[in-house]
């Protein structure tokens, strides 16, 4: 038996000794919904490797289960039971169900279409079409226990590589798998490894880009929170392949839980001889450091990230030289994203053919997406490349909230573009998205309904990229500012028709003239919305009208004669803009109103409307 096989056998025994495992989601979302209190309560009531009436059961704190909308989620694999929207008060009933094996009916997921209660997780539509490979252990294991990671085949690939493969064979396997960079660009991973391997130098670095700055994306965060050892293992394999002995993980500071779990995982792996000196007795040395980012979107760009690790302002520099030849501290450096590394152990364990069996001709494997916005089932998903937008929005996502109409999907964050109804049947892969004026990006997928104003969204992304532009090159620094100015005029109802041409011209100039990926992609949201939603721009400019009723300058909130004079709105209004006598129709002082819509939310008779 090898070292890992030995450890695995023992780890499995430990897991068996835990009896019935109760997997409680403790991703960022579920923690916000009270997951930690539920875990404490379960432990306090005895579900902690202790015995309740001769039955063994253990509560396991896991990473994200994916279905954030239904949090707090609990899975009991032994019984095949899946609970949703669990609260602290439900703990007694859950313990009773563990004892009897009979599910607590009210905590089962109810299919909104059929009204049927679904007991098993794999029968829920949200999970049916997914294929988890990089996220395979997320939600299944205790992210803070090395034992769990080992029992679920952690570090098996690393041992296989160290025992049986040369670095060149590893690079070949990754190349053959067709894996491409999951951070957005889609550059073939195997090639990057080959370049770094071939680069001359006695010292080489490996970097993990975990600066997931796209607003609306949380895949990498969930991966680090839920299965940090997989990332470490992927990085160790990469380091062996390119000939490096030192690595940095650059994590954004907004992810404190990821940072904490990674630190724990690194310490555990070092103690177990899986990181550090002479790993698994094979003479391979590799250490990993954590670097916390400080909130700069541009640091997602590899050369800016490297500058930031060196203690500089995170500003990009022209390429070449590429990091593979001259990267961190001037040394050859391999830099990949979290999800890319997380795919590596699976490829080495199951073979490149297995990985390439998922996906399309040019885009192999699976991709995680953060599914958010005006959609019923928000959450973290992983699907084979080439899955259509329709499958994601309607089958997995359960359609739009309140049965509203699908308007657009924003993919790839501020660097991406909008997809519309005509793209619903487009298989999502690198090439198709690029042709449609969008990009896979890191995988943020924000679904928008008819209630979203496209011009306002374009302004939102422009304000983001303008704020985050590092200021080094003129086209990006000045261009994004002017793009934002024009879009701000549009939403304020002060646009002119000729602005449309200027906007387009500017967008193209910024795209062509900028130094780094931030500037080159910043105009994408503008260009793609101009292409698909020109009518909406024209409505704002010519008719001074916001078709979605979002833009405050063109919006008025009024109280209709349905008002029963309950005074609730007047008491809620943060600026005291609402007046009226009890049991009489109230009115809104338009000069005071800040259009926060708080009144609309509290009105019991829906008498307050947007005009």
């Amino acid at each position: 038996m090898t070292v890992i096989q030995d450890k695995q056998a023992e780890a499995k025994k430990n897991i068996e000794a835990q009896g019935t495992r109760v997997l409680v989601c403790a991703g960022t979302g579920c923690v916000a919904c009270g997951a930690l209190e539920i875990i404490d309560e379960l432990k306090a009531k005895g579900v902690n490797v202790s015995t309740i009436q001769s039955q063994k059961m253990t509560v396991v704190t896991t990473g994200c289960h994916g279905f954030c909308e239904q949090g707090v989620m609990i899975l009991i694999p032994d019984l095949g039971i899946n609970y949703v929207k669990v609260q602290k008060e439900d703990v007694d009933d859950i313990i009773e169900s563990l004892r009897t094996g009979k599910p607590v009916e009210r905590l089962l997921y109810v299919d909104p279409k059929t009204n049927e209660k679904i007991e098993k997780r794999e029968e829920i539509n949200f999970y049916k079409k997914q294929k988890r490979t990089s996220l395979i252990n997320v939600g299944q294991i205790n992210a803070e226990e090395l034992n769990d990671a080992i029992a679920f085949r952690g570090y098996e690939a690393l041992e296989k590589v160290l025992n049986k493969m040369t670095p060149d064979e590893v690079v070949k396997e990754v190349t053959d798998s067709g894996l491409r960079g999951r951070g957005g660009g889609g550059f073939p991973t195997g090639k990057k490894w080959m370049f770094t391997r071939a680069a001359q130098g006695d010292k080489k670095y490996v970097i993990c880009n975990a600066d997931e700055g796209d607003p609306g994306a949380f895949m990498d965060g969930s991966l680090m929170e839920g299965d940090p050892h997989r990332l470490l293992e992927g990085m160790a394999i990469a380091a062996y392949a390119v000939g490096s002995d030192e690595a940095y993980i650059y994590v954004r500071a907004e992810y404190p839980l990821s940072i904490r779990r990674l630190k724990i995982a690194i310490k555990q792996a070092e103690e177990a001889g899986l990181l550090g000196k002479n790993i698994l007795g094979k003479g391979f040395n590799f250490e990993i450091h954590i670097k916390e980012g400080a909130g700069a979107f541009v640091c997602g760009e590899e050369t800016a990230l490297i500058a930031s690790i060196e203690g500089e302002r995170g500003m990009p520099r022209p390429k070449p030289p590429f990091p593979a030849n001259k990267g961190l501290f001037g040394k050859p450096t391999l830099i990949n994203n979290v999800e890319t590394y997380a795919n590596v152990p699976g490829i080495l364990l199951n073979g490149s053919g297995w990985f390439a069996s998922f996906g399309t001709g040019t885009s192999k494997g699976t991709k995680t997406f953060a599914l958010t916005g005006d959609i019923n089932n928000t959450g973290l998903i992983e699907v084979p490349m080439g899955t259509t937008l329709r499958e994601i929005v309607f089958d997995i996502g359960g359609g739009l909230r309140g049965g509203k109409k699908f308007k657009a999907a924003q993919i790839g964050g501020p660097s991406g573009g909008c997809l519309t109804e005509e793209h619903l049947d487009l298989p999502l892969d690198y090439e198709n998205l690029c042709n449609a004026g969008a990009m896979v990006g890191s995988g943020g997928l924000v679904i928008m309904s008819e209630d979203t104003c496209i011009v306002e969204i374009a302004r939102f992304f422009a304000s983001f990229t303008q704020r985050e532009s590092c200021g080094k090159c003129v086209p990006c620094r000045e261009g994004t500012k002017q793009i934002l100015n024009i879009l701000e005029r549009f939403v304020a109802g002060k646009g002119e028709m000729k602005d449309l041409d200027t906007l387009e011209e500017l967008a193209i100039a910024v795209k062509d003239g900028s130094l780094c990926g931030l500037g080159k992609t910043a105009p994408n949201p503008v260009l793609s919305t101009l292409k698909y939603f020109r009518d909406e721009y024209i409505a704002h400019i010519r008719d001074k009208r916001c078709p979605a009723g979002v833009c405050t300058a063109m919006k008025k909130i009024v109280i209709t004669d349905k008002c029963i004079g309950c005074t609730k709105c007047a008491r809620t209004c943060p600026v005291n803009a609402i007046s009226g006598n009890v049991k009489e129709q109230h009115t809104i002082d338009q000069t005071k109103c800040i259009k926060c819509e708080a009144c609309i939310g509290v009105c019991p008779v829906k008498a307050i409307v947007k005009e």
């Binding site: 992304f461 800040i594 926060c596 708080a598």
Partner: protein, 166 residues
């Protein structure tokens, strides 16, 4: 630099932080993060001090780094730091009306982001990774999911009551 006159900076504490991180140029971001965690902002004097203490840095480069990254603040923050997430998912689900209501509630006008009594400061952040529960706000690290203007008012009122009770 900062508009408020900072209270005296305890340089012994800054020294301690520099020592714990390692007095190396590549550690400057980590050092600034710890200084901010200790003082709740980056006092100007501390920046100058770090710039002269570490080889390869100058007060100007440290100032440049401190103003480059969003996480750093040169102005003192309130006792309760409220972060309103304006990531795409939160934006689509109404984070801006929330921010307007919050600023109105705390009487923050004309680009002010900290209340006069130094109790509350409001920040807009780009994404906190809790997109599934949008819109969210974070008060001193605690995430409040699925916020409404109503719920926001309650959160603030509870904090105000707590302050008055103490």
């Amino acid at each position: 630099m900062s508009t408020q006159s900072p209270s005296k900076v305890d340089f012994a504490k800054v020294d301690e932080i520099i020592q714990s991180c390692g007095a190396k140029k590549s550690n400057v971001i980590a050092i600034l993060q710890k200084v901010q965690a200790t003082f709740r902002y980056l006092p100007e004097d501390a920046l100058t001090y770090i710039g002269t203490k570490i080889e390869g840095l100058s007060p100007a480069t440290v100032y440049g780094i401190a103003t480059f990254y969003n996480q750093f603040s040169l102005n003192p923050k309130g006792k309760y730091e409220i972060k309103v997430c304006d990531g795409t998912a939160c934006h689509v689900r109404g984070s801006m009306p929330l921010l307007n209501a919050l600023k109105a509630k705390l009487n923050l006008k004309d680009g002010k982001f900290t209340t006069d009594d130094m109790l509350f400061s409001v920040d807009i952040v780009s994404c906190l990774g809790a997109c599934g529960l949008s819109p969210v706000i974070v008060v001193n690290g605690k995430v409040h999911p699925k916020m409404t203007t109503d719920a926001l008012n309650t959160v603030i009122d509870v904090l105000l009551q707590k302050e008055r009770g103490e």
